[in-house]
Structure formats: structure tokens, C-alpha cells
Subunit: 330 residues, 2 copies
């Protein structure tokens, strides 16, 4: 086993306006989506999954996909991407000016039918056409492996099946593989192992790790993935993105929690955490529910609270000491 | 840098009935404490911080410490431990039949005053007497380093001050050092580094890592600590243990979330996760609030949901496929 190689710089890709909203009962206003996407770009997020081009009946919350893409002010250097499930969606995404298109396929037929109304085989056949159209448009084409750890209907998914699908994606010419722990079922040992295996097998293909925090392992999985060399991680503003199979459970790992951890670890992200927190606050206000974001609740590490008056003792005794001096004092 | 050495077996030490309850506004009934402690022992938890022997005015929720210790049915092989802040508490803990006593000192004077009403220097002087009394009684004596990453009043705490205090503990003859990320401010890189450093400097002294999930990094910190060789981790049933400085924020890492992650990683704990979940349910009912436990909310990984009727297509087409066969099918 080789030593971990933690990347010095991580790209945080935000998916709140796609994965975050897709299971929301409340329709998020287009104005707010545009404001948040622009705000995230201004805060330094360089890749934003801005929407999805799906059947509006299936995903009402991204029925405004074309409008969102048309209205957002584009910041140079930022990629505005979208998820699609079929050729029609891919064509709409290209037409709308997306910088990248991600097609998602689940590892089990039953979930792929639930998600995109196709068998895995049908989705892969359609991928050939989608890849041609998207790459023909000169934009990024990505293949997402959904349920890379487990399926809500069939349970545990073998790691080898993940590599089978990844290999098919590479054969079909994807620019990037998304490894998605869509249900938050993965543990950090497995996530690290899968990231390492995929990078060794397909070193020329870029990799994004898409993490959910459903079972509290979101940041552990982010950490293990980075140790195995992952340099781009998906996250969602405010932790938006509940899973319909687990009411009350958190969804995507929160972007501000991830950026906060990376800040503590002195890993460069280029993201302004305080600006993100303001945006998360706007989201919380619009949703009128608490966010699945620990930093939104607790604040950043090392933020100082006022010292209670009862602890302010006599002048001859300093109460807030320079902790560096502990060794000398005791 | 050497490769991670993940222990094959982890001891999970539960602190819900001490750290978990100490900031609760509601007084948890003694009956329930006894039931939960006995239930955790039956579920396979081998070390339980059952209470604290503090001034009942300062910590009303452990005013029943003597009664709890007297009433619990002791399971052979399980250690029932307690936290103390001073000599009087240590004597009470010994009298009550505790198997181990943990004295806590914060790394900053202001927080040590807030927590135990003494300067760090005073606490260390008292530790000499406490160590003598506790070790004289033939039970485990532990020194806990509180605020090992940061202080709510003074901010970031240097790593070197952690080692200063650890060294003093070792000089005073502690059996075990507790490394406590008391405010959940630590990141996994730092936690792993500190665990590794302490183990290298004092290889003969046992180490417990005490983790909070205040900023979502609980399981990441557990993972990194284990990679660095930590073999005993503190956690709290139901994630009980909010921080008074961060209303709404989660406190200790949840025991069932930690045991769940270890189960996925195939690391032995000897703990029955389903039994723990039943106990967490009792706690949630008694508190009448949601728990800070992801697994309590979302269920275990790989639990299967029923397949929606619309996905049950014709007999000629299997909807739930054997995912192992994916490679052949597509």
C-alpha cells in the first residue's frame, strides 16, 4: 500500500441547483437559482451543475433549465454544466449553452428505470449518440456512475460492476468519469479504494467524486477520496439534496462544510467560505427549513465567543492566556 | 510518510451518559440512564463513561452519579468509567466503584475555568493527588486533553501545546491519554497527525480519541485517527451532546454512526448495531427531539426499499438484476 498523496488543490463542484433541488417538494424560484449560481461563481466555485434537462413532469424543479441557463451572467473561467438522461436532454443542454454535459446511468436496472425510465442497456446505447452530439459541440462529456456503492432496491453493489461501467464509459469516449455514492452508503475505505483503482486503470480520464452525507460519512469519504488522489469533488450548497428514500436524512455533502474542512487542512480551493455561507443563508431563508450544513449551524472552527463575565477574574490574573506559553506556566 | 495502518479491531467507548447529558436542559431520568447503560453493555460496548462526579450545581444532569453507579447491573468484561474535575470527585468515583477515572484539563486557562473552575496550573497540581488516589485504588487513571484543536474563547490551539500537556500527563503516570476535539474544530489531517505524533512520542501509553461532529468532520476524524493507529474512539449514543456555544449544532459523534461505518469497513467492534439503534430510539423518544444520528434518520446502508409498482414490468424482463452480471448484459 502506497502512502496517501493528498492533492494540494481541490476543485469543488457545486450541484445544489441540480441534485439539490430535484427532490425538493417546493419549487425554487428561478430568480433565486440565478442569484445563487452567480453568487457561487463570484465566491470562487469554478464548476457549477446549474440544472438538468429532464422531463419536467419527472423533475418539476428543473423545468426552468433553459431559462436558468439563458439568464445567468457567465463568469469567465467558470464552467456551467448540466445533467441529462437522454439524447433529447443532451441536445437541449447544448442549445442552452452548457459547458459540459453529464449523462447518468445507475448500476442496477431497477434504479435506472426509476431514475431515467430506461434499462442500463438502453441508456448505454443512447450514450453512443449522446457522446457524439456533445463532443461534436466541443463541450465536456461526462459519464456518471450512479449507485457506485449500493442500490436502495437491491442493496450492496459489487466494486467490479463499477469498473465494468467505467470501462464502457471510457470506451465510449467520456472526458470524465463521475463516481457517485448516490445514496450515501459508501464508507471511506471503499471510496478510497475505488478512487485509487479507477485512477490506476484509466489514468488519462479525469475523475469526479460525487458524495452524499446520508449516513454521516460525507466528509470522511471526501477525505479518503482525496488521499487516493481525487482532485474534484461534488458538493451541494447548504447540503441541499435529501433522498426520497430516507425522509429527514441529509443528502449531498454540504459545499460549505467541505470547503471549511479543506480550509482547515490548508488545501487550496479558491473559494470564499464566508461568501458561501451568506448564500447558504439565503437558501435557508427561501426554504424556511434548517439546512443540512454543520458549518451553517455551528459556525467556522476558531470563531471566538465572548468570555462569560464570571470568568473575568482579577487584573493580576490573565484569563485568556497565550496557549503557546503553556509549557512555561504549568 | 509511512502507509496507514488501520487497526483490525476498534474499541468504541460510549460517553452519552456523561458528555451527552451534561449540557442537556432536560434532566434525563436515572431509570433511563441505567437502562441505556445496561443496554449498551448488552449490545457489546465494552467501555462506558457512565457519569461524571462533578458539582451537581454545575452539572445537574449527573447529580445522580452515585445512584447510577450503584444501580447498574455490571456485565463482566465491561468497564464503567467516570469523568472527574477534582480530588473530591475522584474519591466519590472510587467509592462508587468505577473501573476508571478520567480527569479533564483544557488547554486554555479561560476554558478550564469555565469547565472545572480552576486554572490549568491548579488542575495539574491536583492531578498529582488524584493520580495517587486513583492508582492506589487499582483502577485506570486517564488524563483528558480538552480543546486539543481549538478553544471557543481563544481560537486555534497550537499542536505543540497538546504535546506539552500529554507529556505532563505521562510524567504524572496516567494509564491513558484522551485526545479530545471537544469543540469539533479539528480536521482529519490534524487529527491523524496528532494521533501519530502522540503514539510515536509515548508508545507505552494508551490513547483514546474523543471526537465531536459539530462541524460535520466527526467520522472523517475517526477515519484519520484510525489510519494513524488509534484503536479506541469515544462516541455518544444518538450523537447526544450538543455544544452550548453552538445552538442546534450536533455534538459528539454518534455511536451508531461510528459503529455503522466500522461495520461497512469490516473492522471488528463486537457491537450489535441493531441493538444500539433500538436504544437510540428510546433516547429519541425520551428527549422528544430528533437525534444527531445519521443512521437513526436514514437507516443502515444496503437496507432494501420495496420496488415501486410502476417499475415491475413484464415477466420477460427482470427488473432487479444480479448486478454482478452487468458486464455480460450490456
Amino acid at each position: 500500500m502506497t502512502a496517501p498523496r493528498m492533492p494540494g488543490k481541490i476543485t469543488v463542484r457545486d450541484v445544489a441547483m441540480r441534485d439539490g433541488v430535484q427532490n425538493l417538494k417546493r419549487i425554487l424560484p428561478t430568480d433565486l437559482k440565478v442569484e445563487l449560481i452567480e453568487g457561487m461563481a463570484d465566491a470562487g466555485i469554478q464548476r457549477i451543475e446549474a440544472t438538468s434537462f429532464m422531463n419536467p413532469k419527472a423533475v418539476p424543479n428543473t423545468a426552468d433549465a433553459d431559462e436558468v441557463m439563458r439568464r445567468i451572467r457567465r463568469k469567465p473561467g467558470v464552467r456551467y454544466e448540466a445533467l441529462v438522461a437522454n439524447l433529447r436532454g443532451a441536445k437541449r443542454a447544448i442549445e442552452a449553452g452548457c459547458d459540459g454535459v453529464q449523462q447518468v446511468i445507475s448500476l442496477t436496472d431497477v434504479h435506472n428505470r426509476a431514475n431515467v425510465n430506461r434499462s442500463v442497456k438502453q441508456s448505454l446505447e443512447e450514450m453512443k449518440q449522446i457522446a457524439g452530439v456533445v463532443r461534436g459541440a466541443g463541450i465536456l462529456f461526462c459519464g456518471a456512475i450512479s449507485l457506485a456503492t449500493g442500490c436502495p432496491y437491491t442493496g450492496r453493489v459489487p466494486e467490479e460492476s463499477v469498473y465494468d461501467l467505467a470501462g464502457k464509459y471510457v470506451d465510449l469516449g467520456v472526458d470524465e468519469i463521475f463516481l457517485c455514492d448516490s445514496m450515501g452508503m459508501g464508507d471511506p475505505a471503499r471510496m478510497g479504494r475505488m478512487v485509487g483503482d479507477i485512477r490506476r486503470r484509466w489514468p488519462e480520464t479525469s475523475l469526479v467524486v460525487h458524495i452524499h452525507n446520508t449516513r454521516g460519512m460525507g466528509l470522511a469519504n471526501a477525505f479518503a477520496s482525496m488521499q487516493a488522489g481525487a482532485a474534484t469533488l461534488d458538493a451541494s450548497l447548504g447540503g441541499l439534496g435529501g433522498c426520497p428514500f430516507a425522509p429527514g436524512a441529509s443528502g449531498n455533502v454540504s459545499t460549505e462544510d467541505l470547503v471549511h474542512m479543506l480550509w482547515l487542512m490548508e488545501i487550496e480551493t479558491g473559494v470564499d467560505l464566508d461568501a458561501l455561507r451568506v448564500l447558504a443563508g439565503k437558501l435557508a431563508e427561501a426554504l424556511d427549513t434548517p439546512l443540512f450544513s454543520a458549518v451553517h449551524q455551528a459556525g467556522k472552527s476558531f470563531e471566538k465567543s465572548p468570555v462569560p463575565a464570571r470568568l473575568l477574574v482579577g487584573e493580576d490574573e490573565r484569563t485568556i492566556q497565550d496557549v503557546d506559553g503553556l509549557a512555561e506556566r504549568v
